[in-house]
Symmetry: C2
Subunit: 339 residues, 2 copies
DNA sequence: ATGAAAGCGCTAACAT
DNA sequence: ATGTTAGCGCTTTCAT
């Protein structure tokens, strides 16, 4: 069990100063060829690695990004994380990652904790609870302290920083238009995330598509189901209205559950009932019929967020903030009719 | 945009030495009450936070754990990560996390990169490619350099370190026994992960259950499907044998795909065909019929791995290595008959 | 009760 | 070509 070796050890080894060793290892022209060679060789043999903590202290840069994800079991967030990780690695950054678990308190504590010098900037998506409470002081503080931050997906206008968001409005509008074009007359919106900014935007997109097509918005068809309500019961009440022939589900598990209920009720899909949902995870692809989804391009969003943050860290610190809006794609499967 | 404040700033503010400030903030008895009070108050008002990089350099401890996950889109690994994160946070540790993406090279590079002083220890599960190549030099080096490491799930006997593993053998044996008890006569093993240590163990458990029940092992029923093969084609060939009435799938997506094929072939489930699979994710729960699964208790495994590593970091450095074996649980659903 | 000094590992400006 | 010094932010021992 040989310990990590330092410049000092090498310096002692050859009876030179630490500075000489440092320069030799960085191949400085100031050092003679043979000194360089013997020192470099020794360093390699003994697996010398510069202590990055010391370097961080010196440079006041840690090459580390703090990532706060509301819930890693969520397919979309997992994909975003993959994207962040890939881009960060490519650019030589490490990730300190935390899960807020949708909790406001955890989010606040995590931010406070990590603002201790261990990282250069943050990438995060707001916890559900944070969006409900609309309390953003911890984010404002972070910005004020000069720590760069990129918000993605679940964002807020209250914070001035770089953002990467999904075009939720347009995604929902497109999807609803698609349902209309394929012949659906009565489309219900199923939202279990109306407490989230993205949920509200998607609902707006749905409404816009209806009015664009001169369809009256029927509040009975805008179904908001809370976390504590029994989803199945709620859906059965909704589906008592037999005229409904299309569902726009705002995330995947409610879609899969709805599909189940609809099938049990004897609907023929997609002829008698169509379903589209947000989030293109595994779930919608493996059920029968496979569900048409709206892909949010999670991985790309992650890459973009990482790129923007790193550009800011390494470039002009006071470039204007940008908000990148990522277009969604409709992935047609068997739960919707062909045009 | 006020910058981070340091002890030096405070010291200048009150015309005292840095040492005095440091002591005052740690409430040392050496400092007079009123000096302490004014310094503490000033520090609080200005949100003083000790620079953890400086502390890390001083203490030679970073309170950071490196986590290398083969694939975060995998439900099991995501759960493990949640467990690690929870326990680490509880104990005051941060996580530097990387995704090896099942690549040997990425795993090696990541380890090399992170062994630069930024972390106190590793928690990791081997990449698929690493297990295929059976090259573990990078892990041995890490151990030799005195960096504590906990391996979970995908481990190897070649490395002496703490481990947390699933009782894969027993889990497969139990599941197979369950199929036999519920009347299955010809059970096929479907493995798309025979290149993994866990895949091999599960296959052994399956065989053991058969021999325990005096059933001859039929090599035709041990189906190993490679990543590059077309799963559906392979399965259809297998299922040409109409005597097969049970499937033990070694991970979830092959189970869901098999289910699909079986349903299309007109089998009635679970009467004519039973399915059990490893990994209790969302997928098996949302398909019809819901699939009976073997839960590996991923979150618990993560917690345990974090606990063991932290205990080693904070306790006796040379306690004997332990291998914790976590029992699986069979979660009965509709894809298997009742006893 | 307070301060000076050393040191964690490293780099860089400035000698020699 | 090599060394000395200072300093990144902090704690701790040893003066005073």
């Amino acid at each position: 069990m040989k310990k990590r070796i330092t410049l000092k050890h090498i310096a002692n080894q050859f009876d030179v100063s630490i500075a000489t060793v440092s320069k030799a290892l960085s191949d400085s022209y100031e050092i003679s060829a043979k000194t360089k060679e013997k020192i470099q060789q020794y360093a390699k043999e003994h697996h010398y690695k510069p202590n990055s903590v010391a370097l961080s202290l010196l440079n006041k840069k840690t090459k580390t990004i703090g990532v706060i994800i509301p819930n890693i079991m969520n397919n979309f967030f997992a994909k975003v994380f993959v994207g962040i990780e890939e881009k960060a690695t490519e650019k030589g950054y490490s990730l300190i990652s935390c899960i807020s678990n949708e909790s406001y308190e955890k989010e606040v504590k995590t931010m406070e904790l990590l603002k201790n010098g261990t990282l250069d900037g943050f990438i995060l998506s707001l916890a559900e609870e944070t969006q409900e409470k609309e309390q953003y002081q911890h984010l404002k503080n972070t910005i004020n302290e000069g720590v760069p931050m990129v918000l993605f997906d679940r964002v807020t206008d209250e914070i001035a920083c770089d953002k990467v968001i999904v075009d939720d409005f347009e995604g929902a509008r497109n999807a609803t238009n698609h349902l209309i074009k394929t012949g659906c007359k009565r489309i219900a919106l199923i939202s279990v995330i109306d407490n989230l900014s993205v949920g509200k935007l998607r609902a707006k997109g749905y409404e816009k598509a209806l009015t664009d097509n001169n369809i009256t918005i029927d509040p009975k068809l805008i179904v908001k189901i809370g976390k504590r309500e029994d989803f199945e019961t709620a859906m059965k009440i909704v589906l008592a209205d037999k005229s409904i022939d299309g569902l726009l589900c705002l995330e995947e598990s409610s879609a899969v559950q709805s599909l189940e209920i609809v099938k049990r009720m004897g609907y023929h899909m997609p002829n008698e009932m169509s379903i589209i949902c947000f989030t293109n995870g595994k779930l919608p692809q493996y059920v029968t019929p496979r569900i048409t989804t709206i892909s949010q391009h999670g991985k790309y969003i992650g890459e973009m967020a990482a790129k923007i943050l790193i550009d800011r860290l390494e470039g002009e610190i006071d470039a204007p903030f940008q908000t990148k809006v990522i277009k969604t794609s409709l992935i047609e499967r068997e739960s919707t009719k062909r045009i």
